[in-house]
């Protein structure tokens, strides 16, 4: 994005706030605080990108993924990088899928409902306005009437359904499963924005996960960040924070970051840590900060994201179109569930290298059978889920003995499915396979997969149980705030980015209201 004319602050000035990270957690905050007239600086570990340079190529797109090595431990070790961690001005929204359902009200109260999982310390009804505000701002395309929430209506018409969506819809119709066009933060019409450039309609290129070249997809660098810069915020790319300085009372006075091999110190009155559920706890554990609860790094979660793939006589050309253009929420509480919570189902298009790697890892093929199957690329389509994951003491992030190039210990993420995840996965395998059989697929196979990084700095009602309160404010350090997927006390079935943006707006409101001061 264009940063040429932005306002700049001297590092010696004490700015009102430093925001670490420019993704879904940091960007709405940056815009809100700057719009309120505060002096704000965002520090982004990655570089600034020109979207026009994004290639239609999965290998060459690797620059927008967080590629510093993380260690994946446990029985179901989670892949990072291209799957779920981004870098650059815009953070993970550069590569996110833009699939943006709201979390179901029942998911915020899972413990009350089932005795398992964790309730959120905030009221979902009071959260709805933040969802509406975020959706309106970033431009969400979807159905006029949403079958599972009569109060909801999407302003932009749906994006085009691609072949996998048509196949899923046909099969679900025959099975009595309700489907509709997915809520997608991809504009289906030219979209005018306040204080940011207009965005053209989606052209169905299918490369959402490699960076949207035309800005139809709502990444932060084409929505909240230009608005923030317009309102006077400064964004510093290529700045990796490694130290937070405090005064005798424990309040933060400055952050220190590495930029092009040199350390710089930015004085500030408040810090918003928005680096995601891996880098946020990693920095806090590295510094030994904000952890009187002992909860930093605990309860790491990842959505159960099982997929089923099948072959069809018709050409699907699965790279075309918005990849996940159909949704059903019918499985959020299936009648025959033997598990807590539920899952969403989406249709799946995919680009070829990502698909081939899934086949090689997940289906275990090699040699001629592998080549023969990959030759069917233009005839395959998928359906997949995003499902609940319960917090568990056995799933956590700690620091390994290996260090990165600035001397910080590499994070190690321990993640194993528990009984609830296994049961939910088995249910989903049955349902997805059944849908694909009804769609007329042959050679159906299902793949174990998990997605998103969630938990590790949970919000709670007291310093004994949470790292931050319901507004994202640290119990230990009054001028430290956290806003990203790390604060989630439970995973909820919905893909997390829209909820993170809404939390970011809510945290900004609380900060500006003088929360706890």
């Amino acid at each position: 994005m264009n940063l040429d004319t932005m306002r700049r602050h001297a590092t010696g000035d004490t700015v009102d706030a430093v925001i670490i990270g420019t993704g879904a957690g940091g960007a709405p905050l940056l815009a809100a605080l700057a719009t309120a007239g505060l002096k704000v600086v965002a520090l982004e570990a990655g570089r600034n990108w020109e979207p026009e340079t994004f290639p239609a190529d999965e290998i060459a797109a690797a620059g927008i993924y967080w590629r510093d090595e993380r260690l994946s431990a446990g029985d179901t070790p989670q892949p990072f990088g291209a799957n779920n961690s981004g870098t650059g001005v815009g953070g993970s929204t550069l590569h996110w899928g833009a699939f943006c359902p709201r979390a179901d009200p029942r998911d915020w109260r899972l413990r009350t409902e089932t005795g398992q999982g964790q309730d959120w310390p905030l009221d979902p009804a009071s959260f709805t306005p933040y969802y509406e505000q975020a959706e309106a701002y970033i431009g969400v395309s979807g159905p006029r009437a949403y079958p599972w929430d009569p109060s909801r209506s999407y302003r932009l018409p749906p994006v085009a359904r691609n072949a996998p969506a048509m196949l899923m819809q046909h099969a679900c119709d025959s099975l009595g499963i309700t489907t509709t066009d997915a809520p997608a933060a991809v504009v289906s019409h030219r979209f005018e924005q306040h204080n940011a450039l207009p965005r053209p309609a989606c052209i169905n290129c299918g490369y959402c996960h490699q960076g949207c070249r035309i800005g139809a997809k709502a990444s932060m660098d084409v929505t909240y960040l230009p608005a923030a810069v317009h309102a006077g915020a400064e964004i510093r790319p290529d700045c990796r924070v490694h130290t937070i300085e405090r005064d005798a009372t424990g309040k933060i006075t400055a952050v220190v970051y590495r930029h092009q091999g040199h350390d710089h110190r930015q004085r500030c009155a408040a810090v918003f840590l928005c680096a995601g559920a891996v880098e946020t706890p990693r920095l806090l554990l590295h510094l030994g900060l904000a952890n009187s609860s002992g909860q930093v790094g605990r309860n790491y979660m990842a959505h159960v994201a099982t997929q089923a793939w099948g072959s069809f006589t018709a050409q699907t050309r699965p790279h075309k179109g918005y990849p996940s253009s159909l949704i059903t929420e019918d499985m959020l509480r299936p009648a025959d569930a033997d598990f807590a919570g539920g899952y969403l189902i989406q249709s799946l298009g995919i680009v070829p290298v990502t698909w081939a790697e899934q086949v090689a890892r997940g289906r275990g093929l090699w040699g001629q059978p592998l080549i023969d199957y990959l030759d069917h690329y233009n005839h395959v389509a998928g359906v997949g889920i995003n499902g609940e994951c319960l917090p568990s003491a056995g799933n956590f992030l700690d620091l390994s003995d290996e260090t990165d190039d600035i001397g910080m210990r590499r994070p190690r993420i321990h993640f194993s499915y528990g009984e609830n995840e296994h049961r939910l996965e088995r249910h989903a395998q049955r349902v997805l396979t059944n849908i694909w059989q009804h769609a007329g697929a042959t050679d159906i196979w299902t793949m174990r997969r998990s997605a998103h990084t969630i938990g590790t700095c949970r919000m709670g009602s007291s310093a004994d149980t949470g790292v931050v309160d319901h507004a994202g404010n640290s119990f230990d350090i009054p001028n430290l705030w956290i806003c990203d997927n790390s604060v989630f006390p439970s995973a909820m079935a919905a893909n997390p980015a829209l909820t993170i943006m809404a939390l970011s707006l809510r945290t900004a409101d609380a900060f500006l209201r003088g929360h706890r001061t």
């Binding site: 290639p55 990088g81 023969d372 233009n378």
Partner: protein, 464 residues
């Protein structure tokens, strides 16, 4: 001459062999490989001729090469054929016009330029063969094979080898034993610059690793000496699969059925493809950097595993070097159960060799494809025994998953593969403001410009 063109392989057989000797090896080479298999005077289809001196045989071959070979070629000689090969290489390096284009030489259990180390006793015994009854000759042919192999041959290969020996012109047989093998070419050959791969059988009595090291290797400034375990003198018959992979590796064979066809090249060049996308795609068609953290044995094992995961018949020419150069590129994570990538891959490749040795008493590359697949299947199931100082079964299972992923990424991202599957996604829009994208989209909606799959079996889906 264009180095990117596929070379012609020229094969010279052993005493008593023929062009037939090579058919098992050729079966394991990429189907598109051009091969010139020669019957030396007095052998195989040329058994009506009486045979002759080393230079007479070399002259015959040089004439044939001059008539039929164009562009780059690679010389492969076995035993007697290896001595002739050194004479031909000498002529090529002296600038013989008919021989321009020689790029590599491969010598198997070669009879050296100096007189062959052979006991007078066995020379005398062999000189007396093939003069008696048919039954006696048959027994002598069988004894000749038995004396020169480590274990046993595939029955059909054995039968064919016996037939070749029995149809050999006895004059050619005697000429080699009496004079050809005794001729001293050491000074005339001197030192050759053609890159040589010298292969010895560990169980070869007279022309094994020691003879190759002392009598053959000193003639080459650039050479690699490889000893095949559990192998005697008849390497092409005993180890055709391992030999094919070594030839492929040394001769740097491109797989010309995997070039990008003209219509896909035109698509890449078109204004539907952006400058950045085009650059990324075309960069993959160039030879990859040779940077590799592996030693020679690990590299050969790596190539052998790649050949099982991505069959050579479909692999882009630079696949192995691309994988070797890219597998350790940062990707954001690794299995915590494995050491860092470079270390894990080195250990895993060594572990494969240890396992092959433990079970079949030979290197992984010397196993048959079926044996290699058995090992890899066990690996994928986590069903292998741990060896000391190597990766355990669960680590090998994880490593093989990473390996498959790295191999398939390099394969799928190559423009030759994208052409093969008929992929149109690269061409949604070029550098201009207007990017056409795809309109409309849906089942069986294909625009006229989109490439069609050219893979032989696609599509094969059924239903709907």
């Amino acid at each position: 001459m264009n180095d990117a063109d596929p070379p012609t392989l020229v094969f010279l057989h052993f005493l008593g062999g023929s062009s037939n000797t090579w058919r098992y090896t050729i079966d394991h080479l990429p189907p598109s490989t051009r091969c010139l298999v020669i019957d030396l005077p007095g052998f195989g289809a040329a058994s009506a001729l009486p045979g002759g001196s080393v230079s007479a045989m070399a002259d015959e071959v040089i004439a044939t090469i001059g008539r039929t070979v164009r562009g780059r070629w690679v010389l492969v000689g076995h035993s007697m054929g290896a001595k002739i090969a050194t004479v031909i290489a000498r002529a090529a390096e002296h600038g013989a016009e008919a021989l321009s284009g020689l790029s590599h030489i491969i010598l198997l259990a070669g009879s050296p330029p100096a007189p062959e180390p052979m006991s007078e006793e066995s020379r005398a015994e062999m000189r007396g063969w093939f003069q008696g009854s048919a039954d006696e000759s048959m027994a002598q042919a069988r004894r000749y094979i038995a004396n020169n192999i480590a274990d046993s041959l595939d029955p059909s290969a054995h039968q064919a080898a016996v037939a070749d020996i029995l149809r050999t012109n006895r004059a050619a047989w005697v000429a080699w034993l009496d004079s050809g093998s005794r001729e001293n070419w050491a000074a005339r050959i001197g030192t050759l610059r053609t890159p040589a791969l010298i292969i010895a059988g560990a169980a070869d009595a007279d022309l094994g690793a020691e003879a190759q090291r002392t009598l053959m290797a000193p003639h080459f400034t650039h050479h690699r000496l490889i000893t095949l375990a559990a192998t005697g003198h008849l390497i092409p018959l005993e180890q055709p699969a391992a030999l094919a992979r070594l030839i492929e590796d040394h001769a740097d064979l491109p797989h010309n059925n995997n070039t990008i066809d003209a219509s896909y090249r035109a698509l890449i060049a078109s204004d539907r493809v952006s400058t950045h996308t085009r650059a990324a795609l075309l960069a993959r068609t160039l030879p990859a950097a040779e940077a590799s953290p592996f030693n020679d044995q690990q590299t050969r094992t790596l190539h052998a595993v790649i050949a099982r995961v991505i069959p050579p018949a479909v692999a882009p020419p630079n696949l192995a070097t691309t994988i070797a150069a890219s597998f350790a590129a940062p990707r954001g994570w690794r299995f915590a159960a494995l050491p860092p990538d470079t270390e894990a891959w080195s250990m895993a490749l060594d572990t494969l060799n240890h396992r092959a040795n433990h079970r079949w008493n030979t290197m992984f590359i010397a196993l048959s494809p079926a044996q290699q697949d058995t090992m890899l299947t066990e690996l994928a199931a986590g069903d292998t025994n741990a060896a000391p100082a190597s990766l355990d079964a669960s680590q090998m299972r994880l490593w093989f998953e990473d390996f498959r992923a790295a191999a398939v990424r390099a394969y799928m991202a190559h423009p030759a593969t994208l052409a093969r599957i008929g992929y149109s996604g690269i061409a949604y829009g070029g550098d201009g403001d207007h990017k056409p994208g795809f309109h409309p989209i849906g089942l069986d909606v294909v625009e006229p410009w989109e490439p069609k799959p050219r893979a032989p079996h696609a599509p094969a889906g059924q239903g709907a």
